[in-house]
Every structure is written in C-alpha cells, then in structure tokens.
C-alpha cells in the first residue's frame, strides 16, 4: 500500500477559451506529495488554482498533463475515490432531501450497505449536532447547518482521506469548534485530512503540513512548525546539489522545498552570510533572501508577495 495519500506529478491544467483561443494555465506542473495520516493545508490567493487542483484529484476536471494518484491509484479510476470523503466549497445539496435522505443517498453511492447506513446516519447527525434535524428538508437548513451535514456526508463511509474545501465557510464559532473537534478525532484515528482554505489561522492551528499555490504553481511546501519557526532569515537556493543541501541543512534551523529549489531558515545574519558564501563557492544560485516572521500569514504574504514582485519585475524588464 502506498505511503502517500496524494501524489501528483507535474500536474497541469490549461483552459482554452473557445472563441479567443486564449489559454489560461490554472495549474502549472504541480508535483506534490501528502503523506498518509497527516493533516495538510492547501493555501493560495483567489484564482491561484487550488480548486482546480482539488477537482483534478477527484477527477471532476481532467488534467492537461501530468498525473495524480490517491493511495497509489490513478485518479481516473473511479475506485481510487472509494476511500475519499469530500466536502466541496459552495456545495449545492438538492433541497428535496431531508438530512437523513441526503446522507443515505451519498452513502449508498459510496457503497455503504443499507443496514450500515441505518446505523450510521443517526450517529453522524448527532456528532455534527444535527440529531433533531435529520427529518427536516435541507431547504430549511442554515448555511452553517448545511456545512455540518455536508461534513457528515463526507464522513459517512469512514474515508481514509478527507478533502475539505473551505470547511468552516459560513459556520459560527461554536460550529467551527465542533468541526475542529471532529477533525482532531479523525486525525487521531489516522485519517489523512487535506484542507483547502483561505483561513490561515485555522490551517496553522490544525494542519501539520502546508503547500502554497500561487498563479497555478507550487510556491512553497513544508511543515507548518518549520515554516513558522522563530524569526530569522529565509534563503532560497536554486536546485542545490545533494551535498550542498546536506551542508546547508546542517547549518539551518529548518528546510522546505518547492519546485526543485530549497528554502533554508537561518537564525542569525552571520549564519545566513556563511550559507551564502558556501552557495556561491559551489556555483549554485541564490533565488531570494527574506527576513522571516513567525506566523503562517507572514509566510503566506511573503511567498505570494515575492511571486507578485518577481512577476512585476519581469514585466518591467520586458
């Protein structure tokens, strides 16, 4: 069995405008691995390509190039989606369903037997705080209630991988806490949780690993703990050789990788300058040097901002 819940190799999606012939690279060669049992946050500004990336994982959108696998199985195989629970952003459950009816339908599609469904549905409704609403049509539910019943839908077949698109969207603080408690329980049971969210604080609180996507490309990936480690200097080197990478890793506080490059965090200016000397001696190039702060929001802003500045610079040169 694969040690990775999700693996993508150079995954790309290009949308072509039928009339103008213009092409939009929504996802551009993303190679990403998500280890089994981890909690992973996918971050990025609006229009970065996060939703397209998630849709390709679920085969709702077909990749233009590259491939994606779930637990080692190509996503084009419907069976690959068997162990996946999914809650989309802006979901639209048919309003003719009651909460129970909706759970019953989606559980049946996930291959849960009728007897098991009868047992599971009341339990799940209770766990999301909707036990008294099971017989009520979804048209009467508030947005937060729909989000919670949607989460129950994603959990009904005890998935090994849970993909959540903005799970706290529209949920009040109590409901948000309830969702986080459920996710923590799942994490302790070894479920891999993949969250696509705008809420950086929520991702920082809950996820162990993150990836930041910007303009369709993977801008940064690493462990939250390392990325948000104390203040210092972040140094990005372009495709360092193995020996150089090892040497820098020894000197650095933490390391993160993105698209073949590596980003090292140094605690002091002296360590940073020593590292730059080593990099230059080995003929490797320095991509960027950034003073670090200690929140995920800062890491996010630096990463996205750096990319925006780089693009503006290129456009200026052109």
């Amino acid at each position: 069995m694969s040690q990775y819940a999700i693996q993508t190799e150079e995954l790309s999606k290009v949308f072509y405008h039928r009339w103008s012939g213009r092409e939009v690279r929504a996802v551009d060669g993303i190679s990403l691995t998500v280890r089994r049992g981890t909690t992973f946050g996918l971050l990025g500004p609006n229009g970065a390509g996060k939703t397209t990336f998630v849709k390709m994982l679920l085969s709702a959108t077909h990749p233009t190039a590259g491939r994606a696998r779930i637990f080692g199985r190509d996503v084009s195989d419907p069976e690959a989606r068997g162990p996946v629970g999914y809650l989309p952003e802006n979901h639209r459950f048919p309003t003719y369903f009651t909460g129970e009816g909706m759970l019953d339908f989606y559980a049946a599609l996930s291959g849960v037997s009728a007897a098991r469904r009868r047992q599971l549905i009341p339990e799940l409704l209770e766990s999301v705080g909707l036990d008294r609403w099971g017989g009520v049509r979804l048209g009467k539910y508030s947005k937060g209630m729909l989000q919670r019943v949607g989460l129950a839908q994603a959990l009904i077949h005890a998935p090994e991988l849970l993909i959540l698109d903005e799970p706290s969207d529209g949920v009040d603080p109590v409901g948000r806490r309830q969702i986080r408690d459920i996710l923590q329980q799942l994490e302790s049971r070894g479920t891999t949780i993949f969250i696509n969210s705008h809420l950086l604080v929520e991702v920082e609180l809950f996820c162990r690993e993150v990836a930041i996507i910007n303009r369709g490309r993977l801008a940064l990936t690493g462990e939250v703990r390392q990325l948000t480690a104390g203040k210092g200097y972040r140094l990005a080197a372009v495709s360092p050789a193995d020996a150089l990478r090892e040497e820098l890793t020894r000197r650095a506080q933490s390391v993160a990788g993105f698209n073949g490059s590596a980003e090292f965090l140094f605690a002091t200016r002296e360590d940073l300058n020593a590292a730059i000397d080593i990099i230059r001696q080995s003929g490797c190039e320095v991509e960027s040097v950034t003073p670090t702060t200690n929140t995920l929001e800062d890491v996010f802003m630096q990463t996205v901002g750096a990319a925006a500045n780089a693009k503006a610079g290129q456009e200026g040169k052109a």
Binding site: P88, Y96, L109, S113
Partner: protein
C-alpha cells in the same frame, strides 16, 4: 445494484419534488376518472344493457368490440402524442439539474463512473414515465374490460411503445443536457427532432417531388437516421386495434438512434470538466 438503485430513487425523489411525477399521475387519474364517468352515463349503460338482454349476438358483439378498440386506439394516440410530449417537457430539467455546480462535483467524487451516473439518471427518468403510462393504460384497460367483458391485450402494447419512444426522445434530452446544461434547449432540440418525423415520413412522396438525387438521398438519410416517432405511433395505433404491423423498422432504427445518441452523451459527459 445498490448504486443503480440509489441513482434511480434519486431521480424519482426529484421528479416528485418537482411535481413531475404527481403532475403526470394527476393527468392519468383524471383520464381514468373520465372513462369511469363515461361508462356510467345512460347511453353507454343502455347499450350495455341491450347486449345483456338480447345476448351477445355476433353482430352486436362485433360492434362493441370495434367501439372498444376505437377507444383504446384514441387513448393510445393521445398518450403517444400529448402524453409523451408532456413527459418530455416535464422531465427535460432532470438531466441538467445534476450538472449544476456544487452538485456535480459531489456526485463525481464518489466511486461511481460517470457513465453509471448518467445512465442511472436516464433509467430513473424512464421509470417515472413508465409507471404513469402503465397506470393510465392498465386503468383504462381494466375499466373497459370489466364493464364490457372485452379484454383487448393489444392495447397494452401502447405502454411498451410509448415508454420506448419516450426513452428515445429522452436520449436527445440527455445529449442536449450534457452539451448545453439547459432544460429549455434540451426541450427545443427534442421537440424539433420529434416534429421532423411526420415530415420525413413522407419520403415516398418526397422521392417523386424532389428533382435532384442528392436532395432525395438527404431526405432518406434523415428519415432513416432520426427516430421515427410518427411511423412508430401509427404502428402502435394499428397494433392496438388488432391490425398487423407491416414492418418493425421504425422501432429498431429508433432503438439504434437512441443507443448512438446515448453513447455520444456518455462520451461527452466522460470528457467534460466540471
């Protein structure tokens, strides 16, 4: 099987919620009640009493049988034309509705092939119409049979032919729905193709009237390629009245059309991005 059943039941649930099922059921019930009322009015009661009083002499029996067959033929024709078009109008939204953003992603995230989802929807839709058609035809058949003692099993063929032709037209709804995601466009495309049928069925006349060979060939190609709603309807009328059918070509060629269109719909659906 579990999954297929779930998809079919979901279509039923939606048809009920959109009042499609109940609308068709109400129309069928009204027709049944109408025939119950007709069988109770004096003139029919009188005719029936006459037969009972003087015995079923051959000629009287034959007349009654002809009347019953005529009524059966009229019901079959009504059902085949208006009933079927009503069903197409009513159910044209059932395919585009599953393609709505926020709903389709969830369906596609389940371990079910796209083909299965689309064909499950198609089957559910056909079953909704099949149940209502059977209810109406069986109701009318039992009323007339019980009242007159004349049981015309050929009338039951109208269930098969109506449901079959509905399935053929529904395949166009499916393809148009997958292509344009619009109930209105699906209906327009389906009705346009159905309305071409009585015109194209005049291919013998067209052969004489059209001057160039290529227009005659085009006419014939369209006639054989598109569903023969008109010819199959005429055949149904004949069969219901116990007259022999000359050829089953309208049925099998329409079935081939349905298969090809469904295949195209499924292929496009499998390739689409949502």
């Amino acid at each position: 099987m579990n999954i297929t059943l779930a998809l079919i039941l979901d279509t039923f649930r939606e048809a009920m919620a959109r009042k499609i099922f109940w609308g068709l059921f109400a129309i069928s019930t009204l027709m049944i009640l109408f025939f119950l009322f007709v069988m109770k009015i004096d003139i029919v009661e009188g005719a029936m009493a006459t037969i009972t009083l003087f015995g079923n002499t051959g000629r009287r029996q034959q007349n009654i049988e002809e009347i019953i067959r005529g009524v059966h033929g009229a019901v079959a024709a009504f059902l085949y034309t208006w009933g079927m078009f009503l069903a197409v109008f009513a159910s044209s939204g059932l395919v585009p509705s599953i393609l709505e953003p926020g709903r389709i992603e969830l369906l596609l995230s389940k371990p079910v092939s796209r083909r299965h989802i689309l064909l499950g929807r198609f089957a559910g839709n056909v079953l909704v119409v099949a149940m209502n058609t059977s209810y109406l035809v069986l109701g009318v058949w039992i009323i007339f049979g019980a009242k007159t003692g004349i049981w015309n099993p050929a009338f039951l063929f109208s269930i098969v032919s109506t449901v079959f032709m509905f399935a053929v037209l529904l395949s166009i709804v499916v393809l148009a729905g997958v292509l344009w995601e619009s109930a209105a466009v699906s209906t327009m495309a389906t009705v346009a193709i159905a309305l071409m049928s009585p015109i194209l069925a005049q291919n013998k006349l067209a052969e004489r009237l059209l001057s160039s060979q290529w227009t005659r060939d085009l006419w014939n190609a369209l006639y054989y390629a598109l569903p023969k709603v008109y010819d199959a309807g005429r055949m149904t009328f004949e069969i219901v009245q116990n007259r022999p059918a000359d050829s089953w070509m309208p049925f099998w060629s329409s079935a081939a059309f349905c298969g090809a269109i469904l295949l195209a719909g499924v292929t496009i659906f499998e390739k689409r991005d949502f």
